[in-house]
């Protein structure tokens, strides 16, 4: 077990290195430079001033030198300074220790994604089991169509419709942001409720699209297990259907789902980019989008590296979870 873990951890190093090299190359290949915000279409800029700015940001050096410099800092856990005009350290933008925990970008994105993941599992697994045990029934078809509508509906469009309904027509929920203007004057429970209210729509939107994949997967997995001989044996033994499904079939059908957990991380980070922009939520996704648009290389690289690291950790945790849950794998 321990040697397995050590091996997996060592394997992560070249993978992470490969990811950073690819990301670094791709973001530098994209046309445009971080200095564009100052120089592009600014009639007051001279070629000398442009060169001076590029030198200031170290963009005059060859790409491999730039990567080498970046790597040298990152192994010391220093992501460098952002190239945007404020020149703040990248890490301070992602995890600003001057702000309370609840205002730090990584934390905000993490909370929303954790909540929506939880919601996806809570809803998708029962739907999948239900669809499998009632295969091809009318109810199965209705749920299938519903989750696929969620999958197909563009998140930004659905988000706007819900904002109009709940934010304006009914006036029940806030439209955007993380907290209200008068947040500081609220009581403790008022504050909790205020924050929760702001999270309802974003969490709903980010989980609605994920229902289809997981519930269909659960349905397929369940159907496969139900056809197994040991289920037939369990039924033959005279167990009640409930016991057959929930005790014997479900446990085994859940195994592949563990893998999905690990694979879901990059998808969630990608999804954050969209809903954080729509709902004006100051998380990592919004930061990532802005940093790409301004070609803020150190910030883009910082976020990608953290994202890649989290994905690899997610995979590792999934493997460990798998091992714990399935004795057959442990034996190997």
């Amino acid at each position: 077990m321990i040697s397995f873990l050590a091996k997996r951890l060592l394997e992560m190093i070249p993978t992470l290195l490969g990811i950073t090299i690819l990301s670094f190359l791709i973001i530098h290949l994209a046309p445009g430079k971080p200095t564009d915000v100052l120089t592009e279409m600014n009639p007051k800029i001279t070629p000398e001033a442009r060169e001076r700015l590029e030198k200031y940001y170290g963009l005059d050096k060859p790409l491999y030198v730039q990567y080498g410099l970046w790597l040298k800092r990152v192994v010391k856990f220093d992501f460098g300074e952002s190239f945007s005009t404020d020149r703040r350290p990248v890490i301070a933008k992602i995890w600003d220790t001057k702000q309370p925990l609840m205002e730090r970008r990584l934390f905000i994105t993490f909370v929303i994604n954790a909540l929506s993941m939880l919601l996806i599992f809570l809803i998708a697994i029962p739907i999948g089991v239900f669809s499998a045990t009632h295969q091809n029934s009318f109810a199965d078809k209705v749920t299938t169509v519903t989750v696929f509508i969620g999958f197909a509906a563009p998140a930004f469009w659905l988000a706007l419709l819900l904002m109009m309904l709940f934010g304006i027509q009914l006036g029940w929920l806030p439209i955007s942001g993380l907290k209200s203007m008068d947040y500081d004057t609220l009581s403790f429970f008022g504050k909790v409720w205020d924050r929760a209210g702001h999270l309802i729509l974003p969490v709903f939107i980010s989980s609605f699209g994920g229902l289809a994949g997981l519930s269909r997967f659960m349905r397929g997995s369940m159907l496969e297990v139900i056809r197994q001989d040991y289920i037939t044996a369990a039924r033959a033994k005279g167990l009640r259907e409930k016991e057959v499904v929930y005790r014997h079939a479900l446990r085994n059908a859940l195994l592949p789902i563990i893998t999905l957990l690990g694979l879901a991380v990059p998808g969630l980070i990608g999804g954050s980019v969209i809903f954080e922009n729509i709902f004006g939520i100051p998380g990592m996704g919004q930061l990532f989008y802005m940093s790409v648009m301004t070609r803020d290389y150190p910030l883009v690289m910082g976020i990608l590296t953290i994202g890649a690291f989290l994905t690899l950790i997610g995979n590792l945790l999934a493997d460990i979870g798998y091992m714990l849950a399935d004795p057959r794998i442990r034996a190997k």
Binding site: A30, P31, G32, D36, V37, L38, T39, E40, M41, N42, P43, K44, I45, T46, P47, A49, R50, R52, L53, Y56, Y57, S84, T85, D86, R87, R88, K93, D96, Q99, E103, R105, F156, L160, M163, M164, G167, I168, G171, P174, I175, S176, G177, L178, K179, M181, D182, T185, N277, I278, F279, G280, I281, P282, G283, Q286, L287, Y289, M290, R295
Partner: protein, 545 residues
């Protein structure tokens, strides 16, 4: 403008007649008595977040917007576009135009109570011309030969050559508190996120990604602003921002033409908001690559101009919220020449000009040819600007009528600029310029500005225009300048390196409880410190100190 004002006036009359009891929260806000009062907060929506609040280091408009409330300049523009004093009470320009002496206002204080003096300007000037300062704005200051502090309130600059834009360059870019920053690297301090200024508002709290809260400077040298707080809320998605406006989450935002004309005429909006409209200092144009064989011939460019109905573009694309452009200046401003000759919309003339240039449809396929090649070209424009894309589509249809086949290609901004504009790989483009309030456009039209990354990317070359541009920036005499720029417009209208399409209107909307707003050619926010909300209408509780 007049029409809107009269509608507004009518509305005030109507709502005044309704005679609802005072103090009723539901009544139309325009009916309340109009007494200036301190208090309340103005919440403005912004797509972008400021990055740094030091004007000389900032590149994005959000940073400049907020920094503009915190810092003042030596001079500023008056509502009629003349230059008036701000931190400078007055100034003298020597007869040869080389020396400007500023006499600064006395008793102006930085937020920390230290008095503002000419030393601060000197410090700002030295910082902006410093090699190590990553600024994009030093060009104007490199023209200065000598800067001196003559007295605590007197600052003098000497130029090598007379330079007309010099006076207005002494705006808020060079005003920095010396006593706080001397000997420190401004890129390494937290001054950019925690600035000490001397303007109308000071920074109170900045939550990254969410909001920037400014509070009024009670010791502002032109009087304490009425509105206590100015809150800048960051909402990256424009559709979300509009919903926030509707729900009352923000008080002020810029509307798109469709929002202005179609989506804000409901009862809710009419009762609770006021819309404004004034020209932006910007224009959109169709620019030709003048090195391209099709467009070398002036008659071809003129023909295309005659085939484009600018009025149609304004009506369809901008929903009428703009003006057809005839040159690179905003109509009704002093450099604008109202008498340039333009073709108007005249298909017959367009066809005639093309024939003269040797273009004719010889094979009957509806597309003109010359020397065997059909008249087909591509218009490039940038992604994310639906106004430009729609304009391109209209032009495409209009040009098809005179036998020119147009393709449209939409490109991501950085790709567009770096791969196509800078490398001159284009036939025609639709782009826009934001123009400063000073009419100097040397960099756009001068034949010496055609190198890569320079702004005469169409390759325009006219010795007379070069000379006039030089003349216009070397004299402070308004009449002389006006004459030069009038003539330039005549030449540009004849030679058409660009077809000037339209000058769009800015269309902000603001909650009706705010009073004291006086629209002007330079917009509405110039007198922000005089805006107020009558006591009975104030929405946000007084600020806790």
């Amino acid at each position: 403008m007049k029409k809107i004002l009269s509608i507004m006036f009518l509305f005030i009359l109507i709502s005044g007649c309704r005679q609802e009891p005072a103090g009723n929260g539901n009544q139309a806000v325009t009916a309340i008595s109009d007494e200036p009062a301190y208090g309340d907060a103005l919440v403005a929506g912004s797509i972008g977040e400021p990055s740094i609040l030091i004007p000389m280091l900032a590149g994005d408009s959000a940073s400049h917007d907020v920094a503009g409330l915190i810092f003042n300049g030596l001079v500023k523009y008056h509502t009629d576009l003349s230059v008036i004093g701000d931190l400078a009470e007055s100034w003298d320009i020597s007869a040869d135009g080389l020396v400007i002496t500023f006499h600064l206002r006395k008793g102006v204080k930085w937020f920390d109570g230290v008095e503002f003096t000419a030393e601060d300007i000197m410090f700002g000037y030295k910082t902006i011309i410093d090699e190590k300062t990553p600024t994009a704005y030093q060009e104007d200051y490199l023209q200065v030969e000598k800067a001196e502090v003559l007295a605590p309130q007197t600052f003098r600059v000497t130029y090598r050559k007379p330079f007309a834009p010099a006076l207005t360059s002494w705006g808020n870019l060079v005003v920095l508190p010396k006593h706080l920053l001397e000997g420190r690297d401004i890129t390494k301090t937290d001054f950019g996120r925690n600035p000490v200024g001397l303007g109308r508002y000071k920074l109170r709290n900045w939550t990254p990604g969410q909001e920037v809260i400014l509070e009024s400077n009670r010791d502002y040298f032109q009087g304490r602003p009425y509105i206590d707080r100015y809150i800048y809320r960051i909402i990256p998605d424009p559709a979300t921002m509009f919903l926030e406006l509707k729900a009352g989450g923000i008080d002020l935002m810029g509307l798109t033409p469709i929002q202005y004309t179609k989506q804000t005429d409901t009862k809710h909006f009419v009762e609770n908001f006021r819309k404004f409209r004034y020209p932006v200092f910007a224009y959109t144009y169709l620019g030709f690559n003048l090195r391209h064989p099709f467009f070398k011939d002036k008659r071809v460019r003129q023909a295309i101009a005659c085939a484009i109905d600018k009025k149609e573009i304004v009506d369809v694309v901008l929903f009428g919220l703009g003006k057809p452009a005839t040159g690179p200046y905003v109509p009704d401003t002093w450099p604008y020449n109202p008498n340039v000759r333009t073709c108007g919309y005249d298909l017959g003339k367009a066809k005639e000009l093309l024939n003269l240039a040797g273009w004719a449809d010889r094979d009957g396929d509806g597309v003109l040819e010359k020397d065997g090649s059909p008249f087909a070209f591509t218009i490039l424009t940038n992604m994310g600007n639906s106004l430009r894309m729609n304009t391109a589509t209209i032009i495409q249809r209009r040009l098809a009528k005179i036998g020119i086949k147009v393709d449209i290609r939409v490109l991501e901004w950085s790709t567009f600029i770096n791969e196509f504009i800078d490398k001159r790989r284009f036939q025609a483009v639709i782009l826009g310029w934001n123009i400063g309030l000073d009419p100097d456009q040397y960099d756009i039209w001068h034949s010496g500005k055609t190198k890569e990354k320079e702004f005469n990317f169409v390759g325009y070359n006219n010795p007379e225009v070069d000379e006039l541009l030089e003349k216009g920036r070397r004299t402070f005499n308004m009449e002389e300048r006006k004459k030069a720029y009038f003539r330039i417009q005549e030449i540009l209208a004849e030679e058409l390196p660009y077809i000037f399409l339209y000058v769009p209107d800015a269309t902000p909307i603001i909650h009706a409880r705010f009073r004291g707003i006086k629209p002007s050619p330079i917009g509405i926010s110039y007198n922000l410190e005089r805006w107020y909300v009558p006591k009975a209408l104030q929405r946000h509780a007084a600020m806790q100190p």
